[in-house]
């Protein structure tokens, strides 16, 4: 056990993960995107300010923590740093970044399953989502319905779109019955 802790300590010494926080970064809207001004110590340990006219966000744990551990990338896809918690950045910045994330990760939330037809390895779904009624086709349904943490479901359709069912047990009985057999 002691050995392990020692190792962890050395790992941290060798690798620095740069975190972007409320204290070292500022976010503002620029045209359709987010601009970030961030201060990091340079190699000499002196704080240096850099302005990124446009940042790109990428979720480290898209299923488990959609608004935590967000990697912030520059236009060359190089990581500038990681935001541990979006909500820790203050209300205004959090909203800006949440919007940006929700736009990049388009995941309609399924509220009701209107019908499912299963035919030879393909299934045809008609669902009611937050975005209205939608239809999609899934191939190999069984393996394209990802179960996350017990009751959350992500469905991937043949085009690569993703749909979420936040809590399968909260679906109405009919909807639940329709999806149950695929789980």
């Amino acid at each position: 056990m002691a050995d392990k802790m020692n190792e962890a300590a050395t790992l941290k010494e060798v690798v620095t993960v740069r975190y972007i926080t409320k204290d070292n970064a500022k976010f503002e809207k620029q045209s359709d995107f987010v601009k970030m001004t961030v201060r990091f110590p340079n190699e000499e340990g002196v704080e240096e300010e850099t302005v990124y006219d446009r940042i790109f966000l990428h979720r480290a744990f898209p299923f488990d923590f959609p608004y935590e551990y967000i990697s912030v990338l520059d236009s060359d896809s190089k990581e500038i740093g990681i935001i541990k918690e979006i909500d820790g950045l203050g209300e205004e910045a959090a909203k800006l970044l949440r919007d940006e994330l929700d736009r990049k990760y388009f995941t309609p939330v399924i509220r009701q399953i209107l019908s499912v037809k299963d035919k030879f390895g393909y299934s045809y779904w008609k669902v009611l989502t937050d975005e209205g009624e939608m239809e999609f086709t899934m191939r190999d349904t069984f393996s394209n319905l990802l179960k996350v943490g017990g009751t959350r479901i992500f469905a991937n359709d043949i085009d690569g779109n993703r749909y979420e069912i936040p809590d399968i047990e909260k679906l109405d009985r009919k909807s639940f019955k329709r999806i149950e057999l695929f789980l």
């Binding site: 736009r103 990760y105 393909y122």
Partner: protein, 741 residues
């Protein structure tokens, strides 16, 4: 996605000032670019001199092209974007849509970029819109032009029937046997009646001889019955296994021909399941169920006709519950299908886990994770058990009830027949014959009601098999592909390639490699080096541009001819289970022993092979476990050399070797490769010291090209890499342990 004509009409209705010839490239979109999570009916347009955007019929942007610096496609998760950058540096979103538009957007963005650079619009992108089935409007699966949703069930059965063609005589013959057996089945009850009426209940004392004759007849009929069944079974088993073997070959053949991209999309467990389990399921169906089906239907017909002609009211009474039972089975049908499908999936998952764990057993053991693997397996195994129990439970609970329902007619029969015997209109013998037939007819009735269950299972397997067989070949030989004897010139003509259409891994590669040249390919990991050589081997087809060998586009050369002249040594060497000799001679099974030994010598493998007790006859395991990494690599090099290729590809081929051995092999190679073109990827730059030319890849493009000296003088990327490696090799010297003072 709407086509250009429709969109053009819509735009003309929205903006009366536009003329049709101004409308160059209309793009529809369904997600709002700025607001979050809202669907919209929008159109973006590349007009002659500006970009225009409408959302729900209202114009939201109009940007003169003179202000636009670039247009790019960007991929989100579950959606995609086309964005433009203004010359002021500001980025804007032109349009955004869900992933259904993915390929269309990627292609459209490229077209717009080209237009900005002054090129004509090719409208190639329209192919991405039309890749849908005209009947059901569902997108074709990548690479396929058949809509599997519109292909119906009967078609599958029909195709299976066609595949079984060589065995049709066997099947027909067995059907004839069934027919005879069904008829023979009718005989014993008839004899029974004679036995009862003429002998047992006869008015006067029957003759013993006649009595014995009847019994002997009964005996003989039974023997004939059994004999016939035996022959019939043999026939069907033969047909079933032959058809399965044919199917297996078909599936395996297809998998072998699939491109690497297709194969790597599936797990090996899944593929193995298709080849072995699904085809055995079919075999089972043909040798057991298909036969039984024929038999039962014939018996049903024969007995049914008899019963109805004897007394139709009675027959009706017996058959009456059948539709109800059939209907009840239908009710459970979709439930059952799911359960079977699920059980199939779990089976496949179990296989995957087995495969995973066994091939990764070293990692499992090294990290002491046996327990976790056991748990993982146990879980799937338990799930499988539960699903199976669910199925069986279902049948255990439902079946007896349905069987009872089915037999309800028997009670009526008893009453009716009893009445007639008492009334004297029926003899005891007739009753015995009649109830025997009734007993017989329930067999097929029950069996037929059970049939959907079997059919479902078989259909699932058939569909899965055809799913593989129907998979499109994305790297296919052209009909007019030629066999070409390679001289060795390789030309890259503006080659771009992406594993999917939206993201190019290699961009605008231009290079010419002359016969006999050794070209080193250098660059950071993930820059596309291996992709480049995969393209030369035509594991994938280029997305744009062309690769030519001796001036011929490699897509015009037959793959057999192309690959038979290319020798490859990969970093990840794979040895098949067999002897070392077999492995070296893999690509040239007719090689003489002299040739094999010479190749092994050239590859520096001979000396270590001779140290093994069984030398060339040493068996190597599935992945050559008994050999070290360096030894395996040398065997692989020997294999490639024996192949005597015109083009030799070395992908980190000597990475597992020490520098000394590497140098020996290099010197041998140097002599061997004198007149053949060699492409070599290496991280250790010293490996490339014999290269006549170095190609440096950076960000998917050719950053530098030239000889070692030229590139060193240039002091660019290559220079940086060389310097960094020199520094590295000096390190040990610096850190040497100082002698204790």
């Amino acid at each position: 996605m709407e086509n250009r004509t429709t969109l053009t009409e819509r735009i003309l209705a929205l903006d009366k000032t536009l003329s049709p010839d101004e409308i160059l490239l209309p793009i529809d979109y369904n997600l709002t670019p700025t607001a979050i999570r809202r669907r919209v009916d929008g159109i973006a347009l590349l007009a002659k001199d500006r970009l225009l955007v409408w959302a729900d019929g209202k114009q939201t942007a109009s940007v003169p092209l003179s202000d636009v610096a670039e247009v790019v496609f960007r991929r989100g998760n579950g959606c995609c974007f086309i964005e433009y950058r203004l010359k002021s540096g500001e980025w804007h979103i032109l349009c955004r849509a869900d992933n259904q538009f993915l390929d269309f957007y990627a292609a459209a963005a490229r077209e717009i970029s080209n237009y900005l650079e002054g090129k004509e619009i090719s409208y190639e992108y329209e192919k991405e819109i039309d890749r849908r089935c005209p009947k059901c409007h569902r997108q074709y699966r990548p690479g396929s032009n058949v809509c599997e949703h519109c292909v119906d069930k009967k078609n599958y059965i029909g195709r299976l029937w066609k595949i079984a063609k060589p065995y049709h005589p066997l099947i027909y013959l067995s059907v004839v046997f069934y027919f005879i057996i069904a008829l023979v089945n009718l005989v014993p009850p008839y004899i029974n009646r004679i036995l009862v009426d003429d002998y047992i209940k006869a008015a006067e004392m029957p003759k013993l001889a006649g009595y014995l004759t009847v019994i002997a007849l009964l005996f003989a009929v039974n023997i004939v019955q059994k004999l016939l069944s035996m022959i019939r079974s043999v026939l069907l088993i033969r047909a079933g296994n032959n058809i399965t073997a044919t199917l297996r070959e078909l599936v395996f053949d297809k998998i072998q021909k699939m491109s690497i991209a297709r194969i790597s999309k599936r797990t090996s467990g899944e593929l193995m399941n298709r080849v072995s389990n699904d085809t055995s399921e079919l075999s089972r169906f043909i040798s057991n169920d298909f036969g039984a089906m024929a038999e039962q239907i014939l018996i049903l017909l024969a007995v049914g006709i008899y019963l109805f002609s004897y007394d139709w009211r009675l027959a009706l009474m017996i058959i009456l519950p059948t539709p109800i039972v059939m209907y009840s089975y239908r009710l459970f049908h979709s439930f059952m299908r799911h359960v079977f499908h699920r059980s199939w999936q779990l089976d496949s998952r179990e296989n995957s886990i087995l495969h995973d764990t066994f091939s990764g057993i070293r990692v499992v053991k090294a990290f002491g994770m046996e327990k976790r693997e056991i748990e993982r397996f146990d879980k799937v195994s338990r799930d499988l058990r539960d699903t199976r129990i669910l199925t069986e439970h279902f049948f255990a609970k439902i079946q007896p009830f349905l069987n009872f329902l089915m037999g309800v007619g028997e009670y009526f029969l008893l009453y009716y027949v009893g009445n007639r015997i008492i009334g004297g209109t029926m003899t005891l013998g007739e009753m015995s014959q009649f109830s025997a037939y009734v007993g017989i007819i329930y067999g097929p009735l029950r069996w037929l009601s059970w049939l959907p269950r079997r059919l479902t299972r078989t259909m699932t397997s058939i569909v899965k098999i055809f799913d593989v067989i129907d998979e499109g070949e994305d790297v296919a030989d052209r009909a007019d592909a030629v066999d070409h004897k390679i001289d060795g010139t390789i030309t890259f003509e503006d080659v771009s390639f992406g594993y999917d259409k939206t993201q190019y891994v290699l961009k605008h590669i231009n290079a010419e490699i002359k016969p006999g040249e050794m070209v080193g390919i250098v660059g950071k990991s993930g820059v596309g080096k291996s992709t480049l050589i995969n393209l030369v081997m035509r594991m994938y087809d280029v997305s744009e541009g062309a690769i030519r060998i001796d001036g011929i586009d490699i897509r015009d050369i037959s793959q057999d001819s192309l690959r038979s002249q290319i020798g490859v040594v990969l970093q990840e060497t794979f040895l098949f289970s067999g002897t070392i000799y077999d492995n070296i001679a893999y690509a040239k099974p007719d090689a003489t022993r002299d040739e094999v030994i010479t190749a092994a010598k050239a590859a520096g493998a001979h000396s270590f092979i001779m140290k093994l007790p069984n030398a060339y006859n040493t068996k190597v395991g599935e992945k050559g476990h008994t050999l070290s990494g360096g030894e395996r690599q040398r065997v692989a090099i020997a294999r490639a050399l024996l192949h005597n290729p015109r083009i030799l590809i070395l992908d980190e081929a000597t990475a597992s070797l020490d520098t000394e051995t590497e140098k020996q092999i290099q010197d041998a190679l140097q002599k061997l490769i004198a007149d053949r073109t060699t492409l070599a990827i290496a991280h250790r730059l010293s490996t490339l010291r014999n290269a006549t030319k170095i190609l440096v890849l950076d960000k998917g493009e050719v950053a530098e090209i030239g000889t070692h000296e030229e590139l060193m003088r240039k002091q660019g990327i290559y220079y940086g890499l060389v310097m960094a490696q020199r520094q590295m090799s000096k390190m040990p010297a610096k850190n040497q342990i100082k002698p204790a003072s």
